[in-house]
Symmetry: C2
Subunit: 758 residues, 2 copies
C-alpha cells in the first residue's frame, strides 16, 4: 500500500470545535435586517372540505404583516407527483395540511394571529389503512385520481419464480410489517426567504439538496410570475438530515410567498411538535415475502409483494420501492425474483426519504425470512448466507456489477466476534443479518454529478468549493483529506466551502451514501489538474520530467531523490510573481458512469456496492419482554476508510438508529393524528441507551472509488432490525415480524408460544 498522510487518518471533524463551542450558525441563529416571522395554521381534520376561512380578525392584530390562504397564492405544485400545494384549497387531506400562513413582526404575534383565523370545515370520512384504501368503495384522498392506488411502476420479474417455487426443496412464506418512524433531527426545520429589488431570491434553508431545491424554488417563482430570476440557496449548519431534507417542504414555499408579499425577509422555524407532525417519516410497509432454496441451500427464488402507506401526498417515500429492489434482487445470489409494491393514498402523514431509503424495511423482511429458511432447511443461518453470498465479479439480476465484495469476510468476522448460536445461557441469543447498499453513487436523477473548484493561494493553501452538502456526516473532511493527500498538503491547508449555490458547483444532493464517492472523486479530479500544473512548473525548476515527481509535506520532489525539492508555496509565488504570471485554479465536474434504471428496473445504478454483516447478542427478559443488547458487531466492506473515526461515527450512529427502529421508535397515529409528537412519548434512543458496538472494516480498494473508498452513510441502520429479530428468536424462540419489537409484542408472542406449546 501507499504510505498515506491524510487519507486513512483519524482527523476530527473540521467543524467539531466550532460546533462544540456554539460558533456555528444554525437556521435558528440567523437574523436578517427587518426580518419577519412566519407561522403556519394546520388542518383540524384528517379529511375535510374547507368551507370558509375568515382572516379578518387576525389581520387586525397589531404586528401582523401578511396572512395568506390557498386562495391568495398561485398554483405552486411540489412533491414527487406534484400533488401537494403550500396552502390547501378545496379540502384538507391530513392533519398536517397547511391551511393558512402568517407573517408578523415576532413569532408570538404570528402565533396569536393563527388563533384568530377561523376556518369552517365540513368533515369527510377518512381512510387510514392502506389495504382498506385499496378497496373500490374507499373514500378517495385525491378524487381526480379515481383511485387511492398510485400509478407507480414498482413491478419486476426476473427468471421464473413460479417454476422455481415448484423446484424448491425448502420454502418459507411470511408477512412482515414496519411502521412510521421519523428522523428526529435535533435541529428543527426552518427557512428564511428574502427577495432583492429585482425579485431574485435568497433562501437560507435546512436542505440536503441545494441544487435541486434551487430548481424547485425557480419553478415556484415562475408560478408566481417571476420568470428569469436567480435563486440562491444557502444551507446553514444543520442539526441532522438523514434524508428528511431531500425534498422541498410547504414551509419553504410559505417563507418565499410571505417574503414576496411583505417585501421583507421571512423566517419560519419549526418547534419540536411541529417537527414531529409536519415533517416526514420513513414509509410504513406491509411485506409478504417468500423465499426458497434447493437441498444444497442455494437460494432459488424470492417472491415479495408490498403495500406502502403513502399518506395524503407524494414525496420520496413513495419511491422507496426503487431502492428496496436492490436487496430484493441482489442481497445474496438469487436467480429468480419477483417483486411488486403498491403505494396507497391515505389520510395519514406522508413519507420522505430516510437513511437507507427502503432498504431497512426490505432487509428486515428478507433477513428475517433467511433465518426462517435456515431453520426450515436445517442449515446454519450463517452457512446459508455463505452459500449464497455475493462475490466480486457477480452481475446481479438487476444488472448491478459487483466490482468489489467483502461480504464473506464480514460474515466470518461477525460470527468470529459473536460466536455461533449454541451453547447459550437462558434468554440469550445471537442473530445476524447482511446488507447490500449503493456505495458508488446512485443514479436516481438525470445527473449523479458533483462539481469542485479549487483555488490555490501564494502560500500553498487551498480554498475548495464543493457541491457536496455537509450535514454533519463529514463531507468537508472527506474532500479535504482526499485533496490534501493528493497534493501533499496538511488537511488544515484545504478550506472547504460548501452549501451555497451561488458559490458552489452543482451537486444532486446528499443522499444514497454518495458523497464520499462522488464528491471525493470530483475533488480528486480537480486536485489532479492542479497537480499536473504544479508538476509542470516544478519540472522546469527541478530540471526533472513530471513523471518522476511526487508531492508530500508541502513539497514537490523528485521521488527517488527527495533532496531535489521545492516548497509548494515558493514555487507558486515564483510563477505568480513574474510577467504574465499564473495562479493555480482548477474546476472539475465528476459524474459517474452509472446508469439510470431502465423500465425493466435493470441498470448498474451505482459504480460499486457496499456490503456488510451485522450481528447482535441479546438477552430477553421473558417476564417483561424487554430486549437488552449485550454486544453488537457491524462489519462492513467500505473499500477504503478515508477517515476511520468519521466512518465509525457513521456506523455507530446508524446502528443506534437501527436499534431504535428495531425496538423502540414508532409514531403512533390514531385516525391520522399523531399521538406522540415529543421526545417523552416517542422513544428515540439516547446516549444512555448506547450499547457496546464493534465496527470492523474491510478494505477492498474499489477501483472507481477515491483512494478506493465506497459510501457508508446509510448501511449502519440497514440490517440492524433483522439481526436483532433473529437474535431474539435464537434467544427465546419467538419470531417477531412487526417493528418495533416492543416488550408488549415480545410478551404477547411469548404467551402465544406458551399457549401453543401447552
Amino acid at each position: 500500500m501507499q504510505d498515506l498522510k491524510a487519507v486513512g487518518k483519524r482527523i476530527p471533524k473540521i467543524d467539531a470545535v466550532d460546533k462544540a463551542t456554539g460558533r456555528v450558525e444554525y437556521i435558528q441563529d440567523i437574523k436578517l435586517a427587518g426580518m419577519l416571522h412566519g407561522k403556519i395554521l394546520y388542518s383540524k381534520y384528517p379529511h375535510a372540505r374547507i368551507v370558509n376561512i375568515d382572516t379578518s380578525k387576525a389581520k387586525q392584530l397589531t404586528g401582523v404583516r401578511a396572512i395568506l390562504t390557498g386562495k391568495d397564492i398561485p398554483e405552486i405544485k411540489f412533491g414527487v407527483y406534484k400533488d401537494n400545494r403550500p396552502l390547501k384549497t378545496g379540502k384538507v387531506r391530513s392533519y398536517r395540511d397547511e391551511v393558512a400562513a402568517v407573517a408578523a413582526i415576532d413569532p408570538e404575534i404570528a402565533q396569536e394571529a393563527l388563533s384568530l383565523i377561523k376556518v369552517t370545515y365540513e368533515a369527510l370520512p377518512g381512510i387510514f389503512d392502506p389495504e382498506a384504501a385499496m378497496k373500490e368503495d374507499a373514500p378517495l384522498v385525491h378524487e381526480e385520481h379515481k383511485t387511492n392506488i398510485l400509478k407507480m411502476p414498482w413491478k419486476l420479474h426476473y427468471g421464473d419464480v413460479e417454476t422455481a417455487k415448484k423446484e424448491t426443496a425448502y420454502m418459507v412464506e411470511n408477512r412482515f410489517s414496519t411502521t412510521w418512524v421519523t428522523h428526529c433531527c435535533l435541529g428543527t426545520s426552518g427557512a428564511i426567504a428574502q427577495f432583492d429589488n429585482t425579485n431574485n431570491l435568497t433562501i437560507y434553508t435546512n436542505t440536503q439538496i441545494p441544487s435541486l431545491a434551487q430548481k424547485d424554488f425557480l419553478s415556484a417563482l415562475k408560478a408566481m410570475g417571476l420568470r428569469d430570476k436567480r435563486v440562491r440557496v444557502i444551507k446553514p449548519c444543520i442539526g441532522g438530515g438523514f434524508g428528511s431534507k431531500l425534498d422541498t417542504y410547504a414551509y419553504e414555499y410559505l417563507s418565499i410567498l410571505l417574503a414576496f408579499h411583505t417585501r421583507k425577509p421571512v423566517k419560519i422555524v419549526f418547534g419540536r411538535e411541529e417537527e414531529f407532525f409536519a415533517t416526514s417519516t420513513r414509509q410504513p410497509t406491509i411485506m409478504d415475502v417468500a423465499q426458497g432454496c434447493d437441498k444444497n441451500g442455494k437460494l432459488l427464488f424470492r417472491d415479495i409483494s408490498m403495500v406502502l402507506d403513502n399518506g395524503a401526498y407524494t414525496s420520496w417515500g413513495a419511491t422507496t420501492p426503487s431502492v428496496m429492489m436492490m436487496p430484493i434482487t441482489s442481497l445474496y445470489r438469487v436467480p429468480n425474483v419477483r417483486y411488486e409494491a403498491m403505494c396507497v393514498y391515505t389520510n395519514n402523514t406522508y413519507s420522505q426519504a430516510m437513511r437507507g431509503y427502503g432498504n431497512p424495511q426490505a432487509t428486515f423482511a428478507i433477513e428475517s425470512s433467511m433465518d426462517m429458511l435456515a431453520e426450515t432447511s436445517g442449515f446454519d443461518p450463517m452457512e446459508l448466507r455463505r452459500i449464497n453470498a455475493n462475490q466480486a465479479g457477480d452481475v446481479s439480476p438487476q444488472d448491478f456489477q459487483i466490482t468489489t465484495c467483502g461480504l464473506d469476510q464480514c460474515i466470518d468476522e461477525v460470527e468470529k466476534r459473536l460466536g455461533k448460536k449454541t451453547p447459550k445461557e437462558k434468554g440469550v441469543g445471537v442473530g445476524f443479518a447482511s446488507l447490500i447498499h449503493v456505495g458508488g453513487g446512485a443514479r436516481v436523477y438525470k445527473s449523479d454529478g458533483c462539481g469542485t473548484i479549487i483555488k490555490m493561494d501564494d502560500y500553498g493553501k487551498i480554498n475548495l468549493f464543493t457541491g457536496a452538502t455537509d450535514m454533519g456526516q463529514g463531507a468537508d473532511n472527506m474532500v479535504a483529506q482526499i485533496v490534501a493527500e493528493e497534493l501533499g498538503l496538511d488537511v488544515a491547508d484545504v478550506h472547504v466551502i460548501h452549501s451555497d449555490t451561488d458559490v458552489c458547483p452543482w451537486d444532486v444532493g446528499a443522499h444514497a451514501s454518495r458523497t464520499t464517492f462522488v464528491a471525493g472523486n470530483s475533488a480528486l479530479g480537480a486536485a489532479k489538474k492542479i497537480k499536473a500544473r504544479i508538476f509542470d512548473m516544478a519540472s522546469k525548476q527541478l530540471e526533472a520530467p513530471p513523471e518522476i515527481l511526487v508531492m508530500a509535506n508541502r513539497m514537490v520532489m523528485v521521488k527517488e531523490d527527495p533532496k531535489k525539492r521545492l516548497e509548494i508555496g515558493k514555487l507558486l509565488r515564483k510563477f505568480h510573481f513574474s510577467t504574465n504570471g499564473e495562479m493555480l485554479m482548477a474546476e472539475y465536474f465528476y459524474d459517474p458512469e452509472n446508469e439510470n434504471l431502465g423500465r425493466d428496473f435493470k441498470g448498474n445504478t451505482s459504480m460499486t456496492y457496499t456490503f456488510g454483516t451485522h450481528g447482535a447478542r441479546v438477552k430477553v427478559d421473558e417476564e417483561t419482554g424487554k430486549v437488552q443488547i449485550l454486544k453488537y458487531v457491524a462489519a462492513h466492506d467500505i473499500g477504503r476508510a478515508i477517515n476511520p473515526i468519521l466512518l465509525e461515527g457513521q456506523v455507530y450512529g446508524g446502528v443506534m438508529m437501527g436499534i431504535g427502529y428495531a425496538l423502540t421508535e414508532q409514531i403512533i397515529h390514531e385516525k391520522g393524528e399523531i399521538m406522540n409528537p415529543n421526545f417523552r412519548d416517542y422513544k428515540i434512543l439516547t446516549i444512555k441507551d448506547v450499547v457496546p458496538i464493534e465496527a470492523p472494516v474491510f478494505e477492498t480498494f474499489d477501483k472507481d472509488g477515491p483512494y478506493g473508498a465506497k459510501g457508508i452513510g446509510e448501511p449502519g441502520c440497514v440490517p440492524t432490525a433483522p439481526a436483532i429479530a433473529n437474535a431474539i428468536y435464537d434467544a427465546i424462540g419467538v419470531r417477531i415480524k412487526d417493528l418495533p419489537i416492543t416488550p408488549e409484542r415480545v410478551l404477547t408472542a411469548i404467551k402465544a408460544k406458551k399457549k401453543l406449546e401447552s
Copy 2:
C-alpha cells in the same frame, strides 16, 4: 464595427437600486454575534516622548474588555517602509499617532475608557516644513534614520537636459505647490476582526486591496506568533475609495489585536472627525519646473525637481513620484527629461494614494508651465500642445509604448467646444490642459494580475467570481457586460461575486485605473474558455464546425444561418443530464505583459495609455476673487466605452474632485494639527456646486483592451487644476501657482499685479 448588445450600453450600476434603497451592507451595518467595539486613543502632541501610560482606571470601567498599549503588542510593522506600528512605543511623531486601544461592550463605554487613560508625554520640538526638515540640524522624526530625507530613488535623467537648455529658444522656470487634500469618502473607515477557534482570521474591512491586505494581515499574525493560519478578507460595500484604501491602517491591526485578546469579534468604525485626521491625504508637493522649446515650438527639455512632505510615516504617498514620472517624461513628446523628488519626514500627517497618484500634482505644474511657455514663445497654447502631442506608435523616453492615442482629437474637440481664447468678455477666460495616464494596468507590484472563475448553471446563467474590487466605480458592471457580450447573454444573467478572498481569485487591487482593463481581460479569458466548450457542444448538436458558430440572445447559432440554433440553457442541460455529464466552469488568470520599471525607471508599465484634454471656461469676479466655472469639457480617448453612463460618471466625479482640488479643498494644518476636520470647514464640493460638464469620448479600440477598452477611473481629476489655472490667467491675467486657488489667493494676485502695473 461589431453589433454589440451588452458592451457599450448604458446599463445602470448593478447595485444602484440596492444602494438607493438602503439594502447594501456597509461596515457600519454589520453586526456579529458577541461583537465588541474598539476605540483608539491618539497622541496629544505632534512630537513627544511617551513617559508613561496609566490604564488602571480605564480597566476598572464596567464593560471594558481589553486595553492595549504599545507595550502589550508584538512588533507588527506596516506601511511601505515598515516604519509604522499599530500602537506607538517610545515616542509619538504626529497627532494621529495611536497610543492605546480599547475594546468594550459598546462604543460609548470604549470612548469613556479612552478618557480614563492617562498618558504622560514629554514634548519634543516638532518639524512641520519639509524644506526645513531637510536641514542638517532639524529635529529628527525617526532618529534611527539619521536624516529626515527618505532614502528613495526618485531620480532620472534621459537625454541631456543641460545641453538642451543651451539650445532652447524659449524657456520658462517656475515653482508650483500643492497642499493636503483628502479623499472625503462618504463611508467612513472601519473593520471587524474575528478569530475562529484555530485562530484563523476573518476581517471585514473597507479596503481596495483584499489580496494584499490579506498578505499584510498574515504578516501581522506571524508577528503575533500565529503561523500557518488562514486570513479571509471580506470587503463590505464601501462608500468610496479613491486610493485611500490601498494600504492597511493601524485601526485594522488594532481590531485584529483586540479580537485576539478578547476572543470576540471587534469592530472599529471611524467617525467623521477621525476620518479626517486619522486617514490619509494626497501628498503635498513643492515643484520646480523648467521647460523649453525651439523656435518651432518643439519641446526640447523638461527639468523638474520636487520636495514632498512625507509626514511622520511612509505609506504610498511617498511613492507618488513613480507615477509623477509618467506625465513628466511622457505627456507630450519631450526628448530630454530630468527629474528628482525628495520625500521628507515631518511631524505632519502622512499621505496615501489618491486618485491619479501624483499625476494631478505633476500635471498641474507641467500644464501651467506649458501655457507660460506658450506665452513666452508666442505660440497659441493649443497649437503648442498640438505640435508636441503624443502619437500612436511613439515610444516615450521612459519606454512607454503608445499603442493607441487620441490626444489630437481630444485637443481639437475641447477647443471646438470651448472656443479659442479671444474674443472674450471681461473676467472670462478659457484654459486647457491634457493628460496621460496608465490605461492598461500598471505593474507596480510583482503581479498586475486578476483571476476569474465562471460557473454556469442549467439555465445559462452565470455566477462569476472576480478578483476585482468594486468600490462604487462599476467593476461589477464592466465584468458582467463583457462576459454577457462574449457569451450572448443578458447582463442580468451574469451575477458577479467580488471582494471576498475565500471565494474570489487573487487581484492586486483597485488602483491605477486598471480594473476595466485587467479584470475585464481576465473575465473575457474565462468567458472565451466557456465559449469554446459551448461551441464544441453545439457543434455536435448543430452538425456545424465551431468556427461558424456565434452566440447571441441566449442562443448558439450558425452565423450565416441563424435558424440553425440552440437555446444555451437547453444545450447545457443536455450535456449535464447524461451519463458522465458535464457542467461548464472555467478559470482564468490574466496578468498583462507590462513591465515593472527598472532601476532607471524605464519599462512599459502599462499595456496602453489613456489620453485626454480638459478645458474650462471661467468667470473671475475681480472684486471677490471668486472663480466661477461656466462650462467644462473633458475629452478622453478611452479605447472603448464599455458602459457610457459609468464612464461619464467616472469623468464627472473626477472633474468635480479636480475642481475641488483646484479651487476649494485643503486640509489646514497648524504645527501638525488639523484645523478643519469636518465638512463645514473643509470645502468639498457638493451637488449644489456641480458645473456644466461635457465628456466627449474617442474610441481608439486598443488592441490589448477588453473589447478595446482602456482605464478611465482617474483621468477625470488629473488636468482639471491646470485647465482652470490657465483659464483664470486667460480671464484676468494672473497666474496662480499654488493650490487651491482660493478667492484670497486670486485677490492677492490681482492686487500684486495691479501694484506692478501701476
